[in-house]
């Protein structure tokens, strides 16, 4: 009789925890409830079939146990390296009490919704059952908070898996500079900043550390090779947003407009605005450009820090003329270019 998979796994855990030294595959198959022993007097072909079915089931069970965090020790033969048995050390496997308060458990509950349909959602639900095991029952109202991940959520799950497993990944990616291309990456870490998720890793083809915006990954992320295929560097740079990609722009805003840029930026007034005018002339701006952007002409001038020029570009475009970029020049040019290209398409 086929036993329920959960019950078979439970019996496997109990058996391996109590085994004095180890249990071999044959011992497991012959004694643990839920596995089918080799039938007596079966033909060789039938026996082979049943053996193969056992092997598949046992491999899946081992994967399931590892996935849920059971430290399954594989005892290998010192001479030929073959797997000769398995063992679980109870003290390594047990869930410690995390001393979580009822309020903390409730807030952890938000994680079940967060990953939505993605595989990490299943892990979150298992985690919450585990956390609940050590927490007294309490009837609680639903929290007035929620957290959701909507962008590339399947990509995110696969990337987290790959980082944890140290497994290479391949995906299609659109970059600002070089358009769409297929990338092979050794993933190191996922960084979440503002509304964006970033993957830090090694671009295998270029042999260089790179940062990828997860929202720009399209299609599916493919896992390559085996677990543990690469080593992460001992220190992973997390100040990736300051030096290489970020900077500061000078933007003139119409009064009562560009509120988001205002709140992020710093207003230049009086002497600072004068200095700016001098500086702009020094870097090649014409006198009329400086004059036209001066406060007297009804503009208010701000310095606005940015992480990515293209995000700032989209923000300025969305202000539909209520913002004028004074520096850097490539940003100003790319805004004009976007508007011109839009007109071409709009006029067919």
């Amino acid at each position: 009789m086929a036993t329920d998979a959960a019950e078979r796994l439970l019996n496997l855990i109990i058996a391996l925890t109590h085994a004095p030294r180890r249990m071999t595959r044959d011992e497991i198959r012959a004694t643990v409830a839920g596995y089918t022993p080799r039938p007596r007097g079966a033909t060789e072909a039938d026996a082979k079939k049943v053996d193969a079915a056992f092997e598949r089931m046992f491999e899946r069970d081992k994967d399931d146990l590892r996935r849920m965090g059971v430290p399954l020790h594989t005892v290998t033969d010192p001479y030929d390296g073959a797997d000769i048995g398995y063992k679980i050390v109870a003290a390594d496997a047990a869930m410690p009490s995390l001393d979580l308060t009822a309020a903390e458990v409730a807030v952890l509950g938000l994680a079940a919704e967060y990953w939505q349909g993605a595989t990490l959602g299943d892990d979150a639900r298992l985690a919450l059952t585990k956390v609940a095991s050590h927490t007294p029952h309490q009837v609680s109202e639903p929290l007035p908070w929620a957290a959701l991940a909507t962008a590339s959520k399947d990509a995110t799950s696969v990337l987290v898996d790959a980082i944890y497993e140290r497994q290479r990944v391949r995906f299609d990616y659109t970059s600002v500079s070089s358009g769409m291309a297929r990338r092979t990456v050794e993933p190191w870490r996922l960084v979440v900043r503002g509304g964006n998720e970033y993957l830090l890793g090694l671009d295998v083809d270029k042999s260089e550390a790179r940062t990828y915006r997860v929202s720009r990954v399209h299609g599916t992320v493919k896992l390559l090779g085996e677990s543990g295929d690469f080593e992460r560097p001992a220190t992973i740079p997390t100040d990736i947003f300051t030096a290489s990609t970020g900077g500061s722009a000078i933007i003139a805003l119409r009064p009562e407009s560009g509120h988001v840029l205002r709140s992020r930026g710093t207003r230049l007034e009086g002497a600072a605005a004068q200095d700016l005018a001098v500086e702009l002339v020094a870097i090649g701006a014409t006198a009329s450009e400086v004059e036209g952007s001066h406060e007297a002409a009804g503009w208010e001038i701000f310095t606005v820090p940015y992480d990515h020029l293209d995000i700032l570009r989209d923000e300025v475009l969305a202000l539909r003329g209520a913002a004028k970029v004074m520096a850097p020049e490539p940003l100003a040019n790319s805004i004009v270019d976007h508007a011109r290209r839009a007109l071409e398409v709009a006029h067919g």
Partner: protein, 306 residues
């Protein structure tokens, strides 16, 4: 198969740990605690009862108090050492990732910090996810809104919408939601007389009001904008990541290009998205979307030339 193996296995182990910690527990309490029916709990206890060490007789098995079982109460006589398994790395990541997103949004309840730290400690140096906080939400705005949400009171807000219009509104806040690390409040807006999701980083100020929240929460999370008509855009595949984000979009590959069909609820918002990917655009339909796109582009060019 009715239920996947791991959720059930985790619950079976959880029942053992919970009943051990609490001494005994009614089936109703277990059902509530683990979010299943009492019938399922009864099946779980029976399954546990017949599990144990190879041999599976007498002293090999997990044992419950039979007298109490008849009264729908679980009490362990012999656990065979069975207890819950510690969190796997992935499970801890799933919890930490969700909480860090909430924390990064700037709208998290205080208790999220201590919960985060306790789970984060399990991961040690292995944490594959790092959240870099951004200070875009004014802490005073977040604090006032948190207080209003918890107290079920209205709030007076100064808000700047996506089209840069500044308005004063009275909102009935229901829930704070972090979507991809960006904080929103789900609310009923008395000015619009409709449900809205408003971004906290677009609030200039929040003042607590005295009125109670009276509108019931919306049925579902999300934006309640209703599409007015359908638009079709063809663009080079480099723009795919932007098109993928359009609500309700259907994407089809056309040679090296991608065709996106989607409902338009807010014409100006759609024109903004298209302007952002203008260098990739091939065709845009219908005419009304092309007109809006042209209007926006003219406004941008007029300013750039000034």
């Amino acid at each position: 198969m009715a239920e996947k193996a791991l959720p059930r296995l985790t619950r079976l182990l959880g029942i053992m740990t919970y009943v051990h910690d609490q001494g005994e527990a009614t089936f109703t309490e277990l059902a509530d605690h683990f979010g299943v029916t009492t019938a399922q709990i009864r099946k779980d206890i029976v399954a546990l009862w017949s599990s144990g060490l190879p041999g599976y007789s007498g002293g090999d098995l997990i044992d419950f108090d039979a007298y109490l079982y008849d009264q729908d109460v679980a009490s362990i006589v012999d656990s065979q050492g069975v207890t819950q398994i510690k969190l796997s790395t992935r499970e801890a990541v799933a919890l930490v990732g969700a909480l860090s997103s909430l924390l990064a949004s700037g709208a998290a309840p205080d208790v999220a910090v201590s919960a985060y730290n306790k789970i984060r400690a399990i991961l040690g140096a292995e944490d594959p996810v790092t959240v870099v906080p951004t200070a875009e939400v004014d802490p005073a705005v977040a604090q006032s809104l948190r207080a209003s949400v918890v107290a079920h009171k209205v709030a007076d807000i100064e808000y700047v919408d996506a089209s840069d219009r500044r308005t004063s509104r009275v909102i009935e806040p229901h829930r704070l939601v972090a979507i991809d690390g960006v904080a929103y409040v789900e609310c009923f807006c008395r000015r619009a007389q409709d449900y809205r999701m408003l971004r906290l980083d677009r609030m200039v100020s929040v003042t607590a009001g005295d009125d109670d929240v009276v509108a019931p929460p919306a049925d579902e999370t999300g934006f309640s904008l209703v599409p007015q008509f359908e638009a079709t855009v063809v663009a080079a595949r480099g723009a795919r990541w932007v098109l993928e984000d359009l609500p309700g979009v259907v994407l089809t590959d056309v040679g090296d290009d991608v065709q996106a069909t989607f409902g338009v609820a807010d014409l100006d918002w759609v024109a903004d998205r298209l302007l952002a990917i203008a260098p990739y655009l091939r065709t845009v339909a219908p005419q009304s979307v092309r007109d809006a796109l042209a209007d926006h582009a003219h406004a941008v060019l007029a300013t750039a030339a000034s």
